[in-house]
Amino acid sequence: MITPGLLYLSGALLLFLPITNRIKYIMSFLITAGALIVTFYLIPGYSLELDFLKYTLVPFKVDNISKLTGLIFAVGGMAAVIYSINLCSLSNLRLIFVFIGSALTVVFAGDLFTLYVFWELMTISSSFIIIMASDVTKKTGYFYFLVQLVGGLSLLWGIFLQYSATGNLSLHAIEAGLPFFMIAIAIKLAFVGFHTWLPLVYSKAPFYVAVVLSIYTTKVGVYVMFRLLSGINILAYAGLISALFGVVMALRQKQVLRLLSYSIIIQVGYMIMGISIGTEEGTTGAIFHLVNHILYKTVLFMAVGVVIYTTGKDSFENLGVMGRKLPLTSIATLVAFLGIAGVPFFNGYMSKTIIKDALHEPLLKWGLDLMSFGTSLIFLKFIYYAFFKKSTINIDKKPAISMQFGLGFLTVFMIVIGINPFLLENLTTINLGINYFDKKHLLSGIQPFLWSIAAFILLKKYVVKNYQRLLYYDGYRKMAKLFVATGYKLSNYHDGKLNRYLVWATSTLIVLLLLLMF
């Protein structure tokens, strides 16, 4: 049986052949569409075993949740590849294929070894996408790689602890080494304190890179959290804190891409809360939210990408071209906005409702409303600049057809899920028994949105304002400096004088003799 991840990975290999542009298009389309179809026809319960070293690995295992996540990854992959095929170089297209392929393999991984290998392969490929993308992203890529490697290594250490405690590598709730798994996932999720890579990368890297990365990087973290750490109730508060931090930071940004990056942190907060509750309702809600979030956040990133492509910059002022010059992009943006704001009959509404239903503590419920309120406030600012504020900026060139196509493709999915929220339940054969369209749910869903409109009108001058960058203490930089300084001191001892080397040798001999004698 051919796996969707393998399809993408072999696609990356095929792109090494000397091919023309035309074949590149056809091949990319065939692979992305093929992966989508293969994922759609996967049968839950199927699993594959493989002997590697002395372990029996399960590199491929399908269940309802992994199938749903795989499907949305395949949909996102198709849209992202179509969107960026004209923009990125061939070498980056290969890396994008490797990246998507490894993300899809992580989703269907049935053991910790496979999970780690492809988790790390995602890190490698995405770092090289960033490094190769342009000349200004070299340092960003360097930083990103190091941060992600710390995450990967703590995952590996956690896996070792888990393995030595339980003696097997199967993928189920963690028993040993919990803190290390948490660090690994916190870095992938851009949890507050570990989040610095996310706004940096998504705003510095070319927009098509941000589109591809934003679909998978944090979402894989969410998925793995669902597999390994679900049901740790205390983390729900952590998710809330992270999300509220995201709200505050997002409101202060001058760059649209940075705003979108912080909004990812908020949305991931919803998923953390859902997973931490640990009930079927909570986790299902989180995964459904993952699906919805991929749809609308990718559309928003793509729309901003179109703006950057046509005007050259991603400041808020440039969003003004949307309402006047880019009709299709505007419609997509509106649908995505209503989705992310959780307005009924749009896709974000259903998953937010499920998560809210799953929460029982009043503080969390209240926090969730605050998050929804903050999210729609942030995006009202976005919409304000896009459609209401007068702007004189003109577009330099028309958006490419492939970009519009990728954008439209996802918008259709959004509308369908919004109108028929039972679609995802039917697809996964999970029945939550929630009636999305009764009065209680509709009312509690629309409230934060309405409040935010009121707040926006009242507090417009505070929201639509250019804030200075918050000064903050960068601990990572301090640590790096310490590391470099230590190395420098050590290298100063190597002055090339032989007598010094001989002294070292003699003292080593003495120490060795002493250690062995006593």
Partner: protein
């Protein structure tokens, strides 16, 4: 005569004939060198595939008194490394080396002969002789460029290496005095009755002597200086074979003569693991400071050999498998990296990190090979370095060296900091550089061959592991080795 004997004799003979050809027929260098290398490849493979159960060759039919050679899986694995590395490096050197070509090849063949001897011998004095052959020809190779830096490096190397040899010889003489024999099996039997303290001192002398050759910190100082201006194909052999041969000899001496029980009782295993951890942490920190690529790779070699040391000193089946496998993998990875640097040096005389800026776009395939090898040496999946790191960490955890396992991961992070620095420089766009000499296929092919092995052994580790899995059987339990050696 037996094939195993020829493994030692053939390189020595080739060196001899090369010397004659230098005097009389300069033209036959190429056929002589390649012909001998190809025959040697065949010999190595046929001997190493024939290693289970281990075979003993008594040279000249003198029995236990004379020279005995032993081919067990550990030796076979090392011969396999020579087989993988030797022919590519020889082909590379044929084009790369321009001056003193004959001298270079004479010394290289002498060195390989010495290494093969160290690997096969089952006799303590022969081990010392072959070690000296290896070290001296290696020193001469460092100096072959005759630049100031090269001669300075060679001088330091010579002094430190001789110091090491001195202690090894001292220990060998003491052993002979105490045991009355030089055959490893007989020594091991005699040593069972020796007082504990006496054995400890002997072991300290052996360990110190070999550690100087291996380059464990703080005995490593000669190594970067020696690598800085030596011919780059030699660096491949040095980090891949010469340093490893010292590790190999140390492990042979410790595990066969002293035995695992004594090692763990005297605390040598714990000392070895701790020493390894200190070594790679400092080496990684120092490597980050380097601007010269040769020196950077030298420090990285020190760190990688520390991983090997940890694996071998953990003292369990898993540790020996992981450590031995890392000997093989490190030879391949570091070989690839050095050859890539060699190509850059050959075609642009670029040796500092800033000189290779933008070459990623000028030499796409070669640079890709560099990226693969460096990710592999950092220890990232799906390359071969990851597999061995996994094995070593797992073994260290199992044996109770949790701190070592943890620090190996820290080391992985530290090693990425400097390799990524090089990679990023490689892919930073600048104006096109002028290529002085075209590297051609004869430089590219060996590099790409070694680079592709990084991927192959990462995805199909069972290929070498089928041989390596048999190593602990004859090393961890030395009675098996002794029985075979005495019986033969």
């Amino acid at each position: 005569m037996e094939a195993a004997v020829w493994v030692i004799i053939l390189p020595l003979l080739t060196a001899f004939f090369l010397g004659i050809s230098k005097l009389y027929f300069k033209k036959i260098l190429f056929p002589l060198v390649t012909g001998s290398a190809i025959i040697y490849l065949y010999l190595l493979i046929s001997v190493s595939t024939n290693s289970y159960p281990p075979k003993v060759y008594s040279v000249g039919g003198w029995g236990l008194l004379g020279i005995n050679l032993m081919v067990d899986p550990f030796a076979a694995m090392f011969l396999l490394i020579i087989a993988i590395l030797f022919l590519p490096v020889i082909l590379f050197s044929l084009k790369y080396i321009k001056i003193d070509k004959h001298d270079y090849f004479i010394l290289t063949y002498l060195m390989i002969g010495g290494i093969a001897g160290m690997v096969l011998t089952a006799d303590l004095f022969n081990l010392y002789v072959f070690l000296e052959v290896t070290s001296l020809s290696s020193c001469a190779l460092v100096a072959i460029k005759k630049t100031d830096k090269a001669i300075e490096g060679a001088f330091k190397y010579l002094i430190m290496s001789t110091l090491g040899s001195f202690f090894i010889l001292l220990a060998t003489i003491l052993t002979y005095h105490l045991a009355g024999t030089l055959n490893m099996a007989e020594i091991a039997l005699e040593f069972k009755e020796l007082p504990f303290k006496l054995k400890s001192i002997l072991m300290a002398l052996f360990v110190f002597g070999y550690a100087l050759k291996i380059g464990l910190i703080p005995l490593h100082a000669w190594l970067p200086d020696a690598y800085e201006d030596s011919p780059i194909p030699y660096n491949v052999l040095s980090s891949g074979l010469v340093m490893k041969a010292a590790v190999y000899a140390l492990i042979r001496v410790l595990y066969i003569i002293f035995g695992i029980d004594f090692l763990s009782e005297s605390g040598m295993l714990a000392i070895g693991v701790f020493w390894g951890v200190i070594t790679f942490i400092i080496a990684h920190l120092l490597a980050f400071q380097q601007t010269n690529l040769n020196r950077l790779l030298a420090y990285s070699s020190i760190a990688q050999i520390a991983y090997i040391t940890i694996g071998l000193f953990v003292g369990t089946d898993g540790g020996l498998i992981g450590g031995s496998f890392h000997i093989l993998n490190h030879a391949i990875m570091k070989g690839t990296l050095f050859l890539v640097i060699g190509i850059f040096y050959y075609s642009l005389s670029a040796i500092n990190i800033k000189d290779i800026k933008g070459l990623g776009y000028q030499f796409p395939i070669i640079s890709f090979t560099f990226v693969v090898a460096s990710l592999s040496i950092v220890g990232l999946p799906p390359f071969n370095g990851f597999i061995t790191k996994w094995l070593i960490i797992e073994a260290a955890l199992e044996a109770g060296f949790g701190y070592a396992a943890f620090f190996i991961l820290v080391g992985t992070f530290l090693s990425l900091t400097y390799y990524l620095k090089v990679i990023v420089t490689l892919y930073t766009k600048t104006e096109k550089k002028i290529v002085i000499k075209d590297p051609g296929l004869s430089l590219r092919l060996p590099t790409i061959f070694l680079g592709s092995l990084c991927i192959v052994f990462g995805i199909v580790p069972s290929l070498p592991l089928s041989l390596i899995n048999k190593i602990p059987q004859f090393l961890l339990d030395h009675s098996e080795y002794i029985r075979i050696l005495l019986g033969g």
